[in-house]
């Protein structure tokens, strides 16, 4: 279940203020990726039953994991367009924008390191 969240790409992703062992030579500003997803009503009902038993809501965990993956991919696409090879100081924000739909938002600074 745990694998690197970055797809096979040449862009390095870190939550640090730089890439360890490398020097930042150029930066391009903020890049963001976001996605909003909803799970269908059948899984919603099952999750409602889970409310009685308690425990991990697997359907929602899956939903948010997929969304996170997609948000990061979109952010990396923006970084690649700018010509960056790393995105630093990445932060995530999750919020509920409508009943049943969750927004996953990832943002960072696109830089070129050497």
């Amino acid at each position: 279940m745990t694998r690197s969240i970055a797809r096979a790409t040449s862009v390095t992703l870190t939550t640090l203020e730089g890439v360890p062992g490398k020097e930042i030579i150029e930066h391009y500003g903020l890049v963001q990726g976001s996605t909003i997803r909803a799970k269908h009503v059948g899984k919603d009902i099952l999750a409602g039953f889970k409310n009685i038993v308690g425990g991990e809501l697997k359907a929602y965990t899956e939903l948010l994991q997929e969304s996170r993956q997609e948000a990061v991919n979109r952010m990396v696409m923006q970084a690649e367009e700018l010509g960056a090879n790393a995105v630093i100081n990445i932060r995530f924000a999750t919020s509920s924008v409508a009943p049943g739909a969750a927004e996953l938002f990832a943002y960072g600074t696109a830089v070129k390191v050497r």
């Binding site: 203020e17 730089g18 930066h27 391009y28 500003g29 903020l30 963001q32 976001s34 996605t35 909003i36 997803r37 909803a38 799970k39 269908h40 009503v41 899984k43 919603d44 630093i88 100081n89 990445i90 932060r91 924000a93 919020s95 509920s96 924008v97 409508a98 009943p99 049943g100 739909a101 927004e103 938002f105 943002y107 960072g108 600074t109």
Partner: protein, 145 residues
């Protein structure tokens, strides 16, 4: 019967007017982004030494956006079927870029040469009951000059 007609009228108004306003907003955003491109925004900078900075000040840009009726109905249908809620993507994208621009513009007015350590916050401002009301998006960062 009248309820169906009112519903369809609202759907139509929402679709046509909403689409037009959205396109206008996007044109405005793109124009302003182009003109402010020379001032960088960065999400890092908290632990850097900033020898060239004399002054620093926090700037916040925020916006509350709501969806038109057509998109709200589409979103509630999507809630049943599942998958990507495409109608909200434009809403949040617009809101975020607008909030960023407002923060950038107020920083530039102050004279900032860059804005560092930018963070975002999104929250759902409720409508009545369970209907999606509006979304508030806030961007804040430190301007350096």
């Amino acid at each position: 019967m009248e309820q169906i007609i009112i519903f369809l009228i609202l759907l139509g108004v929402g679709y046509f007017l909403g689409n037009r306003r959205e396109q206008k907003h996007y044109e405005d955003i793109k124009r302003r982004e182009k003109s402010t491109l020379h001032v960088p925004l960065m999400s890092w900078g908290a632990k850097q030494e900033l020898p060239y900075a004399h002054d620093a000040e926090m700037f916040v840009g925020s916006v509350v956006v709501a969806n038109d009726y057509f998109k709200t109905v589409s979103a509630s249908l999507r809630n049943l079927v599942g998958g990507r809620v495409t109608v909200y993507e434009t809403l949040l994208d617009r809101g975020r870029r607008e909030a960023m621009l407002r923060m950038k513009e107020s920083a530039m007015e102050w004279g900032a040469s860059q804005v560092i350590n930018v963070r975002f916050e999104t929250s759902n401002i409720g409508g009545q009951g369970q209907a999606a009301g509006a979304v508030e998006i806030m961007a804040y960062g430190t301007g350096i000059r």
